[in-house]
Symmetry: C2
Subunit: 190 residues, 2 copies
């Protein structure tokens, strides 16, 4: 709505877009503060900024991809990240020369793939806060240890392996098999 | 436990592995039926089969991948699927000759990539129940329409686009940006 120049939105309009009821929209937003103006609705730009702030999206998140196989390459060229200020600023692998050709072919500009041994130095230089791990499962824990040591704060782990991190460190797993389990359950009961 | 030959497990052992309390394990399982034997615990093989049945995992799920770019290729070679009876039995693209070289290089055996126009015929022949959509976002809806027409029952959608399907059809989205939003939220509040 902001992109298309709309200035004001009512809770009824928001509700209709989100397929919930207007009272729920007002209640949910009120939970975080006073965003609405009685008789007017919400100012689109203000509401957008407030929601971004609540969600931690009012800043650029600088990320590294570790493990440049097919999945790592897919993430390097995943355009949707940029819409939300997720910026991949480094790519690591255990064997950079082997993979550099394949990745640069896919992307507009060549991506410099660095050896994983440089992660600590590069994480500091480039202010990396999130690591996307797309290594084989057997390597995921040792890579996660390097990520923690490098002072990176969060991991999105795509490798199908349970990894452990120190308390306070943020880890989210993206296990395609678990997501399929959920789909299979829904199909079995539909 | 079944693979390592263990016959019986107590709710305390299960609870410890899952990091919950034993009463919760007993309560959750009791919700689905009478699995435990008083003073014994659970028979591992029986419990495993019962849980698989509840989750819809006591059968092979036959899947197609549609859109064989980097992400599609990653899914074609994702070994973890096989552990849970998820079998990719077909791969489709709009331009099979363009991609076939890249995929076969990655996999042990060459995968035959078919033109998307053949989906209806192949879905019936190969009993495909789930489609993994990894096309560009602009193509996701038209591909989803073909999937529905082909009699496939569920979609796991990786393309960052909202697609709509008829009521009763099962659709799950895997939007990497949304998952990152969740990580960013946790990092902002940690």
């Amino acid at each position: 709505m902001d992109q298309s120049g709309e200035k004001v939105v009512s809770s009824a309009q928001l509700a209709s877009k989100c397929m919930v009821n207007p009272a729920q929209v007002r209640k949910d937003l009120a939970y975080f503060g006073e965003f609405g103006v009685r008789g007017v609705g919400y100012y689109v730009k203000d509401l957008l900024n407030s929601i971004k702030k609540i969600l931690g999206l009012n800043k650029e998140w600088r990320m590294a991809v570790i493990g440049i196989g097919n999945l790592g390459s897919a993430l390097l060229s995943y355009k949707d990240f940029l819409k939300q200020n997720y910026k991949i600023v480094a790519a690591f692998d255990i064997d950079p020369p082997k993979v550099i050709g394949r990745v640069s072919e896919k992307l507009g500009k060549p991506v410099e793939i660095l050896h994983i041994s440089r992660i600590k130095e590069v994480a500091k230089e480039r202010n990396i806060e999130i690591a996307l791990i797309t290594t084989p499962p057997s390597e995921a824990q040792s890579v996660a240890n390097l990520v923690v040591e490098a002072g990176i704060r969060g991991i999105l782990n795509f490798a199908p392996a349970q990894i452990t991190v120190p308390e306070g460190f943020v880890l989210k797993d993206v296990f395609f098999t678990n997501i399929l389990d959920n789909l299979a359950y829904l199909l079995s009961n539909s």
